[in-house]
Amino acid sequence: MLELVQQITNGVAIGSVYVLIALGLTTVFGILGIAHFAHGSVSMFGGYLVYVLVAFQGVSLWLAIPVALVVGMGVGALIEFLAYRPVRNANHINAFIIALGLTMMVEGLNLQFFGADQVVIPTGFDRVFEIAGVTIPETRLYVVLAATVLVIAMTAFVEGTKTGQAIRAVAQNRDAAILMGVNVRSIPLIVFAMSTMLGVAAGVMVGSLFAIAPGVGEAMVVKGFAVLILGGLGSIPGAIIGGLVLGVTEALAAGFLSSAYKDVIAFVVMIVVLLFRPQGLLGGAK
């Protein structure tokens, strides 16, 4: 029983990372209709950046993270402007192939700049809390807290601000939004900046919880999409619940079945959901 609670607790921490990845993907998909496959690799770039700043430049973690988040916003906007904008009106396959090309490029650049070794961001949070027999490492606690704060902040931004309103308007009806005077050229830039910022945050979390290495980004983005399929495409609450469900399922599978095959779980869950609820767990009937 205790083991079960322990695994679920572990799962919530991993799940928080998935939620952040999936939130970035779902905003880009829901609003712009782009399956931004390079998201995971860009997230890992953010994680590497924090690692280099902290481990080699001696920058404090509290400075390195905001710097990486701001750089992430810039990178996101740049990607939208240079890579996706030219194929805005082309077939959706073109945008997806651009995304594949971007993934190769970002993975290649990561390899070039940061090497092929796996790295762990030194956080200095080494304490381990024990609550009613369940051990919770300090880092995991902060990850869950940070993810919660970011999710609330993003929801507040999208729901409560004028820009957020414009974003939702574009998502609902692009033409009507143009007629109402929304600057639709700047919306994709903002969406990509926001989404990449969330991705970088997730990358930092992966780097401090586990490790960053070549290929981790791709695995992350696949899980991110699995979460979207699980929760319903383009749905923010779906991404949150889907992320947590996947995280907990994986932790349980790793703890009770086999850790070698835990990555297969995301796929199995995805296939099962597609078979029985193609619209996702929270998606309405089509």
């Binding site: 194929v87 997806f96 699995a226 095959y261």
Partner: protein
Amino acid sequence: MTLTRKNGLLYLAILVGLIVLPSFISVKYYLHLSVLALIWVIVAQGQNLIQGFTGYVSIAQAGFMGIGAYGTALLGLNFGLPVWLTILIAPLITALFALVAGYPSLRVKGHYFAIVTLAFNMVIFIVLLNLTDVTNGEAGLMGIPKPGAGRDGAIDFADRTTYYYLVLIAATGVTALAALIVNSRLGRVLVAIRQNETLVGAAGLAAWKYKLFAFVVSAMFAGFAGALYAHYQSFINPEIFTIAQSMDAVLAVILGGSGTITGPIIGAFAIVFLPEYLRFADSFRLVIYGLILILATIFMPRGIVGLASDALGLLKKRLAR
């Protein structure tokens, strides 16, 4: 894309060129690359069916190659079945997997299909890596026999030039089959799905059956290519059946020209030879490769074949004046 006499002449020219190619190659290594390129032609023709004609990007082709390669190798090594038989069984095994994976995956459209197939490739890789009792894990399988009766047989398939012609026959057969499919009513339905899937449904056709057909056939091609690859190299490990190789298949179709028959042939040669010429770039290779993919998608979405036919059209206009 009807089979006009001009197209026929073009195909014949390509075929003749490929037949005489080995006599112009003095460096063995280039012959090796040409064999690989022909194997990739088979993969690319399959990829083109699902990606170029039907409009669904599948990123599982390398995984399917893996199933075909391991299928033929394991049948040969464990049960001592004749090589020719296992090469023919391999695509059928692959088709079975594709059927199981394709049925649920094809319920989602566009990008999500790509993601699901990609995840499927990851699963194949993880299983090949971890099912060590059967696949020997990371170390891979060695000593996969060559077809024919080996060096004692009438034809020595261990000889590189001989294997080249074997693969050329296979690639020609597969290309002909692909051409046959796309020029039939079936092919026209596939194109219709790419252009407007809703309309296909409205016309009373069960689009999912056609999509599944294209997907399974594309997987069979890949499985067949994987089998030919396994016997050619005599050695396989999971490393060569990852998403990166699946991306090569996507790239081959885009670069060559999607939705054409000649495109995948040119694209396959491009993706095998291009990295060789990018060797100087070393670890920047991946970056350059990605950049080429992006630039090709933005500036020549119809690929090399599209570019060539545009240039040819322009030239004709000039000459006609």
